[in-house]
């Protein structure tokens, strides 16, 4: 019986012990052993996150613009069907969860620690993002955004107010760039290597960009533009170009230019279809060929005629690989269709046919700006085998803001707002900045190309080109025609940046001869994109647009003025 009693006692004691020792024993299990605590936060790590997300944001946004200005093909077939709302989720997530949240977290931390360059960079990148979100979507959440559970349904702010906030943020950034740093430079400034002066120029140039964008709806911008031009502390020289430079590492992580990875990096052929209109503009529109074409574009096949290449050895094969070659153009005479001789194979705007086996045939991105191949008539496919490298290996750039862009903006402002400077001369500087950047690009990224001067950009070719454009400009009868020439040159110089031509097209309607949508029944041009599905699906205050015709605040042009 004694045994029994002690057994009962032990049992009871065990029960009591278990139920009282609970909490203490359980507390250590509340912290995830696989993750660092917030105390590990570091402004350098935040800034790295911000910069990498920013380049993804830019690339994503630029690709959208590309398809609307015919750099790349929009599949369509209608503007309504061209992009599903979920195509913007990545952009929306990057903007708010990565760029805004990181910037909002680190700016005060950096300012407290007198890391003013950290703070200023964060402000500049955030401001660019805000401006671009407005340019793409119109009204977007800003003042109520990024508050976590304190506001689970942020309302959209009027787009103009977001622009104003972005400009104010650029001013704060400029102030920060002007301060003396008491602690070190960012450990990784992936854009300017810690040069405060360059960042200052960028912030001011972005203000110029915003003001020119607003010029149709805001008369006060002329004075502001003039002030910026007078100060002229802008990205005027290619040394100050705002670019993101890629590396050549293929995996873990893939650090190459995404257009290189997608088109050269696969052994299944290239994936992107480039626009035939862009080919035509470079090669056929003028009576002289744009010498940048061999840098911009790489032809995998130099002749699309049957019989001259094993890839097109008979009509059946050729017809299957390039069906459009065997069809009649649905376009009016004079509009490019299907391909541009010799060998420039792309797609027409809004062609949504299934993809034939043309991965080794279509023309793809060249050496500038993606770090691909220079077109020296190699007549070989771009797609790499597993360990083979074609072209420069993907160490290209994102031309986010180039000095040439500044001059084209100055030219537009001079022509349309009569701000300082001669539009024609400004345009000429823009073109020559572009030519020199493109011509010097292979040296800059350390890749040697053909030395055949017939293929390269030479001073003579540059001079001939400029003189041709100047002749056209001087012959132009109206301001509108002159503007068209300026913007066409901007368009041809901006390759790799789909955002600026997309904004310009909606602001000015130029270039005015864009290739129409292939099937004609395309609906309204995308004056702003649908909202991201993550916003519409999960935010009570969000309503999806019903169509593509909604105009951004700075666009007061008539409905359907562009196609």
């Amino acid at each position: 019986m004694k045994f029994k009693t002690s057994l009962i006692k032990i049992s009871l004691a065990a029960v009591v012990l278990i139920s009282t020792s609970c909490n203490k024993q359980l507390n250590p299990l509340l912290t995830d052993p696989s993750q660092p605590t917030p105390a590990a936060a570091d402004n350098d790590l935040y800034l790295n996150n911000l910069q990498l997300n920013f380049k993804s944001f830019y690339q994503n946004a630029s690709d959208l613009g590309d398809q609307l200005v015919r750099y790349e093909t929009m599949f369509g077939p209608t503007y309504f069907n061209a992009f599903t709302p979920s195509s913007f989720d990545g952009l929306w997530n990057t903007t708010y969860k990565s760029i805004f949240l990181t910037a909002n977290t680190m700016i005060p931390l950096a300012e407290n620690k007198s890391q003013f360059l950290h703070a200023g960079i964060a402000q500049t990148l955030k401001a660019y993002t805000m401006i671009t979100m407005v340019d793409l979507f119109g009204d977007v959440p800003y003042s109520e955004a990024v508050q976590g559970v304190a506001n689970t349904n942020p309302k959209a702010d009027p787009a103009a107010a977001v622009y104003d906030s972005a400009i104010a943020m650029l001013d704060s950034a400029i102030t920060n760039f002007g301060k003396t740093l008491s602690t070190g430079l960012p450990s990784n400034d992936l854009f300017y290597g810690g040069k405060k002066a360059a960042w200052t120029k960028l912030a001011k140039t972005l203000k110029l960009k915003a003001y020119v964008q607003e010029r149709l709806v805001n008369t006060t911008v002329t004075a502001k533009i003039s002030a910026l031009l007078t100060e002229n502390d802008l990205i005027n020289a290619s040394a100050d170009d705002f670019v993101f430079s890629y590396g050549t590492k293929a995996v873990s992580p893939d650090s190459r230019h995404p257009h290189y990875s997608g088109n050269y990096g696969a052994n299944t052929g290239t994936s992107d279809y480039l626009g035939t209109y862009f080919f035509w503009s470079l090669l056929k529109e003028k009576s002289i060929v744009d010498p940048r074409a061999r840098y911009y574009l790489y032809r995998q096949i130099t002749d699309l005629t049957v019989g001259n290449d094993s890839r097109l050895k008979d009509v059946t094969t050729a017809q299957f690989a390039i069906p459009c070659l065997y069809r009649t153009s649905p376009y009016p005479a004079g509009t490019c269709y299907c391909s541009v001789s010799p060998g420039y194979l792309g797609r027409d705007h809004g062609n949504n046919e299934g993809t034939p086996p043309d991965g080794a045939l279509k023309t793809t991105w060249g050496i500038y700006p993606v770090g691909g191949e220079f077109d020296a008539n190699q007549n070989t496919p771009a797609g790499t085998d597993n360990n083979q490298v074609h072209g420069a290996g993907g160490n290209g750039i994102n031309p986010i803001w180039m000095s040439s862009f500044t001059y084209f903006l100055k030219a537009e402002a001079a022509l349309m707002l009569s701000t300082a400077g001669d539009p024609e001369a400004l345009m000429e500087t823009g073109i020559s900045r572009s030519f020199s950047t493109v011509a010097g690009f292979n040296t800059k990224i350390g890749y040697s190309i053909s030395s055949d001067t017939n293929l390269l950009i030479t001073p003579t070719k540059t001079a001939n080109y400029i003189s041709y454009v100047r002749g056209k400009y001087n012959a132009a009868a109206s301001t509108d025609e002159k503007l068209n020439i300026i913007e066409k040159e901007f368009y041809l110089s901006a390759w790799g940046n789909g955002l600026e031509p997309y904004n310009t097209y909606r602001r000015t309607g130029k270039p005015n001869n864009m290739q129409p949508v292939l099937n004609g029944n395309a609906g309204a041009f995308i004056r702003s994109f649908f909202y991201a599905s993550v916003y519409v699906n999960f935010n009570k205050n969000a309503t999806q647009k019903t169509g593509t015709e909604t105009q951004v605040f700075w666009d007061n042009n008539p409905a359907n003025f562009i196609q």
């Binding site: 049992s11 299990l29 996150n49 989720d89 992936l190 050549t248 059946t316």
Partner: protein, 1053 residues
């Protein structure tokens, strides 16, 4: 299992041999009736024909009992031959079931529904997955296979899903009294095939080693298990853990099965048209090419094929029908061998078994090996102690070609063996052409640029493997303190190490470039569950009329999971899978999730239960449990959940019913119970996310990043409380010819642990809050009718009916909707929406003209899609009905199980892709005629008159149009099981060493019809590309289902 004549072990000296036969009142033999001698240990059993022989003293009294009959005592009175007719008894009154924590209780005293599944319902089947074997056998239990791939994951839900975002509602498995992990350790999202390529861990159980299973469906039944029992409990008793006394000292049972595993559902492909587009033959990945001709057109071999195999240069091939998809599959063979040894003495029992299953799938390189070894025993010691122990060891090894979600475009996030296969154009000679480059091993196929992966290459070069070594068992000690009072201690352990690999050779064409350069992903997980349970049970009577049973105890369970893993890319030497053979290495999977992580969780509980009985016809049980769980902050981690239930048996209580011939037995029961749900670990604290090696700049500098996690932490999280009310009737009527078990329930889980989606503009992707409710209401019924009950013939018909309706309500007003699975954005995905059934499908939809109600087409004559998402279907079935017929004649028994699922929607990418690409006979009409989408209007409301080519309409509208177009009603009827069992009569094997011999022919999934899918697609909606979770209704080339048939032989010695 048949048991022959067995001699008892306590015989007296002065004996005579008595032979006898036990029959029912109609004269039919009662097989296996037990024959004991009153006052003496031991006895015997009647054989399958009711005959027995026993040596007894002439004055002895025999006690005869048979399942379903009244126990009868009969004095031998010197006779040597006896014929005994037993009265059908009220077995319902004496039925005992295993309930929570392994307690055996009288079924009549339970205030809740328990369904028992017996060994014979799951053994000798062509299927090694215990979950799938339960399909249809228990009302209220819903089983959904993810795929026909052998070893693929399985969903089990009981009484619907009551959590919105709480993960899979897999019930708690309790094996021999201790918790057993039945989860599915998916290491990649559904896009990467995680759900299909990963086994559910209840696969580690051996169906042939199961003594019985009791399914505790309601909370009243499972409350003592605490929060772990909230999804229902499957209490499994293995033969090793049963403590069963064998009829003779030692018994050996050997079983050998052999089955064929066949693909069940291939589409009827068109024999009229071949690959191409616009009626032109070509190497398109569509079947809109030319009509076949005689003699066939001649087509050149692709450039890629010619490059790899010069013999094809300048040659042509016939453009004709090839039965490629059919020929791709193979006939799999399934072999199961098992041996069971059991033995018992007066105070001890012992059982050991080993079984081996080799299941070769119908898909090349899909196979499943299962090794199960177990032993167990019980001992009753003299000093009031009794002990039992069970130890099981399992090795489960599953391999399959990767089955990633496939968009139907030939490209996939991850290689998928079915993705490029099912819609292969009919003119492609898949099986007649090589698929591998002889030089570098890469995939070659019929396309010039070689941009599509050959499915044969995929089947041979992209493999997923999931191998588990598992040990589980229990040690129990019981001390009988005094009459009615005992102390029990039980230690349970379940430890397994799971090793998963994904091996993709270089030279593939699917996925991104990291894949195509070769991928090797390995992951090692170690899962442990340690469980201590100490309890006191007390049973007594209070006066003459009352009985009282009390259980009280404490329970401690610790779950840990440690995983490490690595993903390597850029294979150096083709064919070798070792991380050192790869150039780059990463610690994240394809979706960017960590392969390394740790989970540690402790659950402590104390519980008590008191059951009061009155005169054997009224019972009341009150129980409660309090849990402390480590996943919540101290102030919130404690939860008490009570329950009360009772039963009343009118046939015992009311005089006019006592001897009724019409109502033989009636029981009414009702219960109210609660349970809790605690969140996964680490949801309350904030942390920093870091990523090393995020980018390497052109100078080779490695950039590391820090970021704020996507989930907003919530330190105030509380456990959620689930409430359930259930009531039921059990009865036997008309001379026990009709048996009914009917239950109605309503269950509400409110203040859910809700992982709510946040619009990214809040800065975060999600947060977990306590909000929202899900109510499930349903009916479960089981009705058995004994049609024939004669001497030789017996025919039972059983119908099982399950109906469940769920509704999401009380979502906070700031929540628009919550996505629970599927594709983000345009969908389709499964959602929780206020006032709607849980898991409803949302996606883009075809816009409908308000006036005519017809769908609108755009200016090209295609369906006009939406810019937002809307409801496109409800994947929840309206009801499930199972019909089981068991017909037996003497020693032959024929069993059939038909399952019928009514309603429920499914978005099928397989079907829409087949339509889009014109491969089935559904598009066998004259394709030269232009096509106008029927029943549509233009945007101005006038009838649609826009002509398009057939291929454009099918491609852009029926195929890849708005999501709503590809949603079909998933009603399906199926012959789930058919078996013919022969238990050889004793006289046939009299002169053999065998005690019993039985031969079983059986088949599963022999026929099915899903009438509302396009006719020739033969699509089987019993699949789930979302894998194991609480979402269903989305198919992304999960693959065909499996049809199995064969035979088993079982012999006892």
């Amino acid at each position: 299992m048949g048991i022959l004549l067995l001699i008892g072990n306590g015989l007296l000296a002065q004996t005579t041999e008595v032979t006898g036969k036990v029959t029912d009142p109609s004269g039919s033999p009662i097989p296996n009736a037990s024959v004991r001698i009153k006052g003496v240990r031991g006895g015997t059993s009647a054989d399958a024909n009711g005959n027995f022989k026993i040596k007894v003293a002439p004055t002895a009294v025999l006690i005869i009992s048979g399942v379903g009959f009244e126990v009868t005592e009969i004095p031998v009175s010197g006779r040597t031959t006896l014929t005994l007719s037993l009265k059908p008894g009220n077995s319902a009154l004496s039925e005992v079931v295993v309930t929570a924590l392994g307690r055996e209780k009288d079924k009549k005293a339970l205030g809740y529904a328990v369904t028992s599944v017996k060994a014979k319902d799951v053994e000798l089947r062509p299927e090694g997955d215990i979950g799938r074997l339960l399909n249809g056998k228990a009302p209220g239990v819903n089983v959904l296979a993810s795929s026909g791939i052998s070893g693929s994951g399985t969903n089990i839900t009981i009484r619907g899903v009551s959590t919105i975002t709480g993960g899979a509602s897999t019930p708690l498995f309790v094996v021999d009294g201790v918790p057993f992990d039945g989860g599915t350790n998916v290491n990649s999202s559904f896009q990467y095939g995680g759900g299909i390529s990963t086994s559910s861990r209840f696969l580690d159980l051996d169906p042939n080693n199961i003594e019985s299973m009791n399914i505790l469906k309601g909370l009243a039944a499972s409350v003592l298990y605490g929060e772990a029992g909230r999804n229902g409990v499957i209490v499994v008793t293995t033969k090793n853990g049963s403590g069963r006394h064998t009829p003779k000292k030692m018994e050996i049972t050997g079983t050998q099965s052999f089955f064929i595993n066949h693909v069940a559902n291939l589409p009827d492909y068109t024999h009229r048209y071949g690959g191409g587009f616009d009626l032109a033959p070509s190497a398109a990945f569509s079947n809109w090419g030319a009509e076949f001709t005689n003699p066939p057109l001649q087509m050149p071999y692709s450039a890629s094929l010619q490059a790899a195999y010069p013999q094809y240069v300048g040659k042509t091939q016939d453009y004709k029908f090839y039965n490629s998809v059919h020929d791709f599959f193979r006939t799999g063979r399934i072999s199961t061998s098992s041996i069971n040894v059991s033995s018992s003495g007066p105070n001890t029992t012992f059982n050991a078994n080993y079984s081996y299953m080799d299941d070769q799938g119908f898909t090349p390189n899909n196979r499943l090996f299962k090794n199960n070894f177990g032993l167990g025993g019980t001992a009753k010691l003299a000093n009031h102690f009794s002990a039992n122990a069970v130890l099981n060891f399992a090795i489960t090894d599953m391999q399959t070609p990767t089955v990633g979600a496939n968009g139907g475009g030939g490209s996939a996030d991850v290689a998928s063996v079915f993705g490029n296969l099912i819609f292969t154009p009919t003119s492609i000679n898949l099986m007649g052409l090589p698929y591998q480059n002889p030089v570098d091993g890469s995939s070659v196929y019929y396309r010039g640029t070689n941009d599509i992966e050959n499915p044969r290459w995929a089947a041979n070069n992209n493999l997923s493997n999931d191998k588990t070594y598992r040990t589980y068992g229990t040690l129990g000690l019981k001390y009988d303190l005094m009459k009615g009072l005992s102390i029990n201690y039980r230690f349970g352990v379940d430890i397994y190490s799971e090793y998963q690999t994904l091996s993709v050779n270089k030279g593939g064409k699917q996925g991104d470039n990291t894949y195509r350069t070769g991928t090797y992903r390995t992951m090692d997980g170690l899962n442990t569950i340690l469980n201590h349970n100490l309890s006191v049970t007390y049973a007594t009577t209070l006066g003459n009329d009352f009985s009282l049973n009390v259980d009280a105890g404490a329970d401690y369970r610790r779950d840990t999971y440690n995983q490490s893993g690595m993903r390597s890319n850029q294979q150096l030497v083709f064919g070798l899978f070792d991380h050192s053979n790869f150039i780059s290495h990463d610690t994240k999977d394809e979706g960017g999730y960590d392969l390394d992580y740790k989970i540690d969780k402790i659950r402590e509980g104390i519980y008590a239960q008191a059951a009061l009985g009155y005169k054997e016809f009224a019972y009341l049980t009150v129980s409660g449990r309090n849990d402390w769980v480590s996943t919540l902050e101290p102030e919130n981690r404690k939860k008490l959940y009570p329950s009360i239930s009772g039963s009343f048996i009118p046939t015992q209580a009311l005089d006019f019913l006592k001897d009724s011939k019409t109502v033989n037995y009636l029981k009414l029961r009702a219960g109210y119970a609660t349970s809790a749900h605690f969140p996964d670990p680490y949801r309350t604290r904030t942390y920093l996310s870091v990523l090393t090696n995020a980018y390497v700049d052109k100078n080779g500098n490695v950039i590391n990043v820090g970021s704020i996690p996507d989930r907003y932490p919530n330190p105030n999280l509380k456990p959620e409380l689930i409430r359930e009310l259930e009531a039921g009737i059990e009865g036997r009527f008309f001379d026990n010819r009709i048996t009914l078990d009917l239950t109605a329930y309503t269950r509400t889980a409110k203040d859910q642990l809700l992982d709510r989606n946040l619009d990214a503009s809040t800065g975060y992707g999600s947060t977990q809050i306590n909000a929202g409710s899900v109510t499930n209401k349903g009916i479960e019924a089981s009705l058995t009718f004994t049609v024939i009950r004669s001497q030789d013939w017996h025919w039972d018909l059983t119908g099982n009916f399950t109906l469940n309706r769920s509704k999401v309500h009380d979502l906070p007003s700031d929540i628009k909707q919550i996505q629970t699975s599927g594709y983000t954005g345009g969908g389709p995905g499964t959602f929780a929406l206020e006032g709607k059934p849980l898991g409803i499908l949302l996606g883009s939809y075809a816009q409908v003209d308000a006036k005519s109600g017809k769908k609108i087409v755009d200016d090209n004559g295609y369906y006009l899609g939406s810019s937002d998402i809307g409801i496109i279907g409800d994947p929840n079935a309206k009801y499930n009905l199972t019909g089981i017929s068991t017909l037996s004649w003497k020693w032959i028994s024929l069993r059939m199980q038909w399952d019928y699922t009514h309603g429920g929607s499914m978005w099928s990418n397989t079907v829409r892709t087949m339509l889009a690409r014109g491969v089935t006979r559904d598009t066998d009409f004259d394709r030269k005629l232009p096509f106008i989408l029927p029943n549509t209007v233009k945007q101005d409301g006038t009838p649609n008159n826009i002509q398009q080519s057939v291929d454009n309409i099918f491609f852009n509208s029926y195929g890849f149009g708005p999501s709503s177009i590809a949603v079909y009603d998933a009603t399906v009827i199926r012959l789930r099981e058919l078996s013919l069992a022969l238990s050889l009569p004793a006289k046939l094997i009299k002169n053999t060493p065998f005690g019993t011999a039985s031969l079983n022919f059986s088949g599963s999934n022999l026929w099915y019809l899903a009438p509302n899918f396009p006719k020739y697609t033969h699509f089987d909606p019993e699949s789930n590309s979302l894998g194991v979770g609480n979402a269903k209704g989305i198919d992304l080339f999960a693959g065909p289902s499996s049809r199995r048939f064969g035979a088993s032989l079982r012999l006892t010695f």
